[in-house]
Amino acid sequence: MGLFRRTPKNQPPKLKPRPPCTPADMPGSPAMVRLEGAAKQALDASRGRLVIGIGLFSLAFLLLGGRLVELTVLRGASEPAVARGFNPELGAKTALMERQPIVDRNGQILATNLKIASLYADPRKVQNPAGAATRLVQALPELPVGEVQAKLASGKSFVWLKRGLTPREQYEVNRLGIPGLYFHNEQRRIYPQGALGVHVVGYTDIDGKGISGIEQHFDEQLKDPTRTGDPLELSIDLRVQHVMRDEVAKTIEYFNAIGGGGIVMDIYTGEIISLVSLPDFDPAEPGTASKESRFNRITLGVYEMGSTMKTLNTAMALDYGSVKLSGGYDASRPIQISRFTIKDDHPKNRWLSVPEIFMYSSNIGSAKMAVDVGPERQREFMQRMGMLNKPALELPEIGAPLIPRQWKTVETMTISFGHGLSVTPLQLATATSAIINGGVLHPPTLIKRPQGMPAPGRQVLRREVSDVMRKLMLLVVDEGTGKKAAAEGYLVGGKTGTSEKVNDRGGYNKKALFNTFVAGFPMNNPRYVVQIMIDEPKGQKSTYGFATAGWTAAPTVGRVINRIAPMLGVPPVDENSPAMRQAMYVPIPGQPMPNFSAPVANAVPANVTVKTQEKKLASQ
């Protein structure tokens, strides 16, 4: 305790004073020490050093004290706010995924990442290879016993036993408790819906990199670690997607066609509810898929759309006002122009009014209608409807339209009935949406739009023209070439299109047909466009050998609408009720106005009135 020993007070330090130099210098003064010379300097210097030392130490302690206050009272900025054990990524909604899941508009999973365990062994640590092999094979029956035993007895330090175990298999293997067996965890992309929606979702390669479809287009976003767990919501409705695939596949099989496809689009948002291209393939095994089945016919394929283009043609003529609805053209004789002869497939051989030209799908009338508009304005209109540009959609597989090199009167005529201009089915569906939704062209999208947000779009058509076009399309199904598309309880309007495919020599092949039916429903208050393509159908006995769109694609559209309307919440109506018939009536010159109060001969007693529901829908 020497450090704390008390020092006696008031005891001056015992100094041995030197004798004063000269006593006269300090008369009467008490004994004082006066240092001079070298000794004084040394003492001063050491005192100064002492002060500096004290100052330095004080500063250091002051700093320490300050830091203490900062850390305890003020809490330093360098102090971590959370514990080291906290993993911020675990705060996300789902497990750590290397890639976000993709879901449909109702949250049904289309693609997700799963942790998959692979089984390997360290044979040096396996004690009884024969016994271990027999037991392991009980858990994994598909493994050959001999091979497993050979592997386990190999004496290497690492052998794969099985890659990609299911959780159940992993549990079974774990339960055996064989020493020397280990699991390696890795993530794998899983597509629970299989081939359903494969052309939309696409697939990834073995390293989890998107190489097709949405997986490729949103590759960066899906891999973004800051968004882990947030699924990517598509506009697709899996139920509708299934119905479309089911029905188109049936039609392809029945008519022995080489392929087909279908699209359902919400006409007020541009959201694609269903996009099917057949044949398709399983995204789990893209390597085994043929080139044909990987091809997306809806967005990548460009086709001459045939008479479905007459929808655009008629809308164009009415929008420019080059002909009135009551007007018409002489369709009694085929048109001869340069090396072409333009004939009608359903010839009436007389003057036809605009509604008749549309419902009987008259090529002659349509061509004359387009000539009145002129090549310049036709081109301008097609541009406005998005038919001349590559459509923008969230897929890498997008085809650009084939535009004729020169656009003169001949081209104007052929384009009027869908030849000479090849577009993707997606473009036709988008343009048709605009024609029946009041004239607003919405860009198509595969991503679910937030509710209540107005979809982007621009007015491309007068509203009145759109109203008339709805009625004209309804007429095609009621009395024209698309009768088989009728769906009981729903007002379906549409347009058939049958075109001959171009053969290798550049001519048209009469045997290879491309059928399209584009429809809108319910026409009293349109909500959706349904479009179906059938590629090279062959005529069947039940269709009297016909393989035109009215026999193949139209009935498929009718069946699809019958099945999807309840899912999409479209209320059924009595399509034959006089009020409805009156509302959708189009006057055709030369035909008497029907008596709306009289019951229709083939009227089906419907049991529904849905005025209030219609109002609700209209206000949406």
Partner: protein
């Protein structure tokens, strides 16, 4: 005086260092607990992910359609299966609406629906409302008059297969 201060300082030093070590150990223990919890959480989430994928796989529309058609005798909803509540007629045994309240337009039974004036929503609850729900499975029950034993056997077989858990579909490879 100075000696007392020193003792207090020494005591404080001991207390503070003891407290510090206690705190440090406590933090360490809590961190370990946190890590453990995080690991458990992550595992649970992985399990949820697996189950969600499994659910999505088992509720594939084509699979459900096949089962519903073969085993439950269901068929697609048609427009006739969907009835608006306003279109339902009054129950007969409740007396005619005329006797209770003046509600015309609903009395005539077999008017073509669209021709009728918009039916007012009755102020009094309609009995026996059986509006067919537009279910997500797009199937409406068809009255299965006969439920043969073969049908039950088939259901049992399918349920058994599902419980045994055939992993064929997992597409792990």
């Amino acid at each position: 005086m100075s000696r007392g201060l020193s003792l207090i300082a020494l005591l404080l030093l001991a207390v503070v260092s003891f407290g510090l070590y206690q705190l440090s150990y406590e933090v360490q223990r809590l961190e370990e607990e946190l890590i453990e919890l995080n690991r458990a959480l992550s595992q649970e989430r992985e399990t949820i992910g697996v189950l969600q994928a499994e659910w999505s796989y088992l509720s594939r529309p084509d699979y459900l359609q096949d089962k519903a058609q073969r085993l439950l005798e269901m068929r697609s909803t048609t427009a006739k299966d969907i009835v608006a509540i306003e279109a339902l007629p009054w129950r007969q045994d409740r007396g005619t609406p005329n006797s209770q309240q003046p509600a015309p337009a609903v009395t005539a039974p077999a008017l073509p629906p669209m021709a009728a004036a918009p039916v007012p929503v009755p102020a009094q609850p309609v009995a026996a409302v059986t509006a067919a729900p537009a279910s997500s499975m797009q199937v409406a029950a068809k009255p299965a008059a006969e439920a043969p034993a073969a049908f039950d056997a088939e259901v049992a077989a399918v349920l058994g297969a599902m419980q045994r858990g055939n992993d064929k579909p997992r597409r792990a490879q």
